[in-house]
């Protein structure tokens, strides 16, 4: 049998939810540890080796000077670097603070901000070349499996770029915008979740980030027509991916 691919899982500024989604693969776990050589995973292992990795899954964004050094080091030691989840792609929810002066945030949280060393939060792509993005907060485990299977087969993973709307149609959901006049983000958000929220009676909030080439301005206009004010619209785009080029304008740049 060919040598097992060496894989590393790394955490930066984030919540560990993406790593939890790996551990969520309870049915596949025993196969995964057979097929991959898990060399680095601090949350799961005490013996870790971060050298010469075939794949690195990066969870979390970059918000401290040492994280910049760390991500560059991992890039140097990795063949295939994956931005694993929304934080690694563009900072996700915690990037909402990028619109607030850093000192103001530090003063709200800490009695002595002089001891805090933190910068605005960015995705890892701001600093290093990224080979693949796994969208989602957290990414769906089917997507993770798709990526890992592709790695074993040495083919390019087929990652989705269509909007949530496509998955809503496949599920047979009635449209929440047209029928209920609710501000659903589905038309501009990448699928891959299986339209979890609309299927369960909730509008899409956007946790898989922008689809490819979305028309954010048109959706913002629809939101205005159904009664949202400018502040409401800004909040909706300044949530999971306010830092993305696709949503920047609507997020209030």
């Amino acid at each position: 049998m060919a040598k097992k691919p060496k894989i590393g899982v790394f955490k930066f500024t984030g919540c560990a939810g993406c790593q939890m989604e790996i551990l969520r693969m309870e049915d596949e776990f025993l196969d995964l540890i057979k097929l991959f050589d898990i060399c680095y995973w601090k949350m799961a292992k005490r013996n870790n080796d971060d050298k010469d990795l075939d794949i690195a899954l990066i969870e979390g964004g970059i918000s401290t000077p040492w994280e910049i050094e760390e991500i560059k080091y991992i890039r140097k030691n990795t063949k295939f670097l994956v931005a694993f989840g929304d934080c690694a792609i563009g900072g996700c929810i915690p990037s909402i603070r990028n619109w607030i002066p850093q000192m103001e945030s530090e003063e709200i949280v800490y009695p002595d901000p002089s001891k805090i060393c933190s910068t605005k939060l960015h995705g890892i792509g701001e600093y290093v070349k990224v080979d693949a993005e796994l969208k989602g907060c957290p990414p769906h485990r089917e997507t993770i499996l798709e990526l890992l299977k592709s790695a074993l087969l040495k083919i390019i993973p087929r990652l989705r770029h269509h909007p949530v709307c496509v998955e809503c149609k496949l599920k047979g959901n009635a449209c929440l915008i047209i029928n209920n006049k609710l501000p659903c983000m589905g038309p501009v958000i990448s699928g891959g979740c299986g339209a979890i929220c609309p299927t369960l009676g909730r509008i899409c909030e956007g946790c898989f980030g922008p689809m490819s080439n979305p028309n954010a301005a048109a959706l913002a206009k629809i939101f205005r027509d159904i009664g949202l004010n400018d502040e409401d619209i800004k909040r909706k785009f300044r949530k999971y991916s306010g830092m993305s080029p696709e949503f920047r304008l609507e997020a209030g740049h």
Partner: protein, 420 residues
Amino acid sequence: MTEKTIKVDYIARVEGQGAINIGITKDGKVENLQFKIFEPPRFFESFLVGRKYDEVMELTSRICGICPVAHQITALRAVENAMGILISNQTKDLRKLMAISAHIQSNVLSMYFLSLPDLMGYESIIAMGKDHLDIVKRALMLKKLGNDITQLIGGRSVHPVTMIVDGFTSIPSKKNFEVIRKRLIDAKKAAFETVDLFTNIKIPDFTRRCEHVAISNSKSYAINDGHLKSTQGIDINEMNYRDFIFEKQKPYSTALHSYIKDRDSFMVGPLPRVNLNLEQMSDDARNAAKNCGVKFPNYNPFVSHLARAIELVHDIDESIEIIDRLPLKEEHSNHMCKSGFGAAITEAPRGSLYHSYVLNNNGVVKKADIVPPTAHNAYNIEKDMREFVQTIIDEPLEDITLKCEMLVRAYDPCISCSAH
């Protein structure tokens, strides 16, 4: 002069980024002991200001990927308290089931994946697979059960989506619950095996009588509602939390350290819960506690693993109880935005979690205040470690290092939470 240094630059098998630094002098004194949390802060309390009341649950969920359910419920309850909303019994029950399922998942993760490898002499659960496949399979089965319940009610296990202010966007069918109910009954055996495993495994013999804190109520095993009580007599209504619990900053930690006003550090988590609320546990859980040979209340932090196992028995029993009484009827909520202050304390898997918000008339957040379990525990972990190191000071440096890590892991810290 420091003669020996115990140094762990990045503690493995815990959530998030923390380090240990301890100096030992020639005459065996401990100095410069630091539980260094270097997790980058994310400033949730800053960017929540200006967001709407109905987003708070969704946003604070992202504080933690292991205990999103606890953050969601605490946020929802704090917002409901601010707006004077009283939720239905069905919502209360479904939320409790959500919370319990998250406890099952998280406690199994902590016991089997994060701590058991130390106690059995392996570097990870991955390494245990070769010699102890049955144990690994049991861990995966139990974890999947917890996650599947969260997913059934919440749509997915990490950052679930159906819980909203005053209700749920969607409620699962009776049929789906029947399948889960059967799996819960089957899992009971594995829960007892878990209690046996952690009863018989050797843990460090170390006791420090510190104040143990958890929410408590007379009617049920408190997870989502109760007064904050302690082994030394505090009894706090959640709305008055800030009159009693204070925080201070340490220069080496991005997590603030909590302490009780005019008193000292304290412990939250499964062990304080079992110590304070054993009477409210299910019959089988109480019997398991009685028959395991370990006396409660107990002040050995390493007994936390066993406390998690006993909770697992209770969690399965209470889940079945809730499923049996759920009416599963559709409910509609009519609430109005109202200005005000609301606070809530719940028991996250790793211990008491506090959220409070000030809302304006339009339901926009004006102030947010969040204290996660690991911020409550950080100071106490240091105090435990200081005494613990003294008891093992003659052992080889490697052993002291591993044991200090094990102490941290007994608390099952969620470091991302603590530096929210």
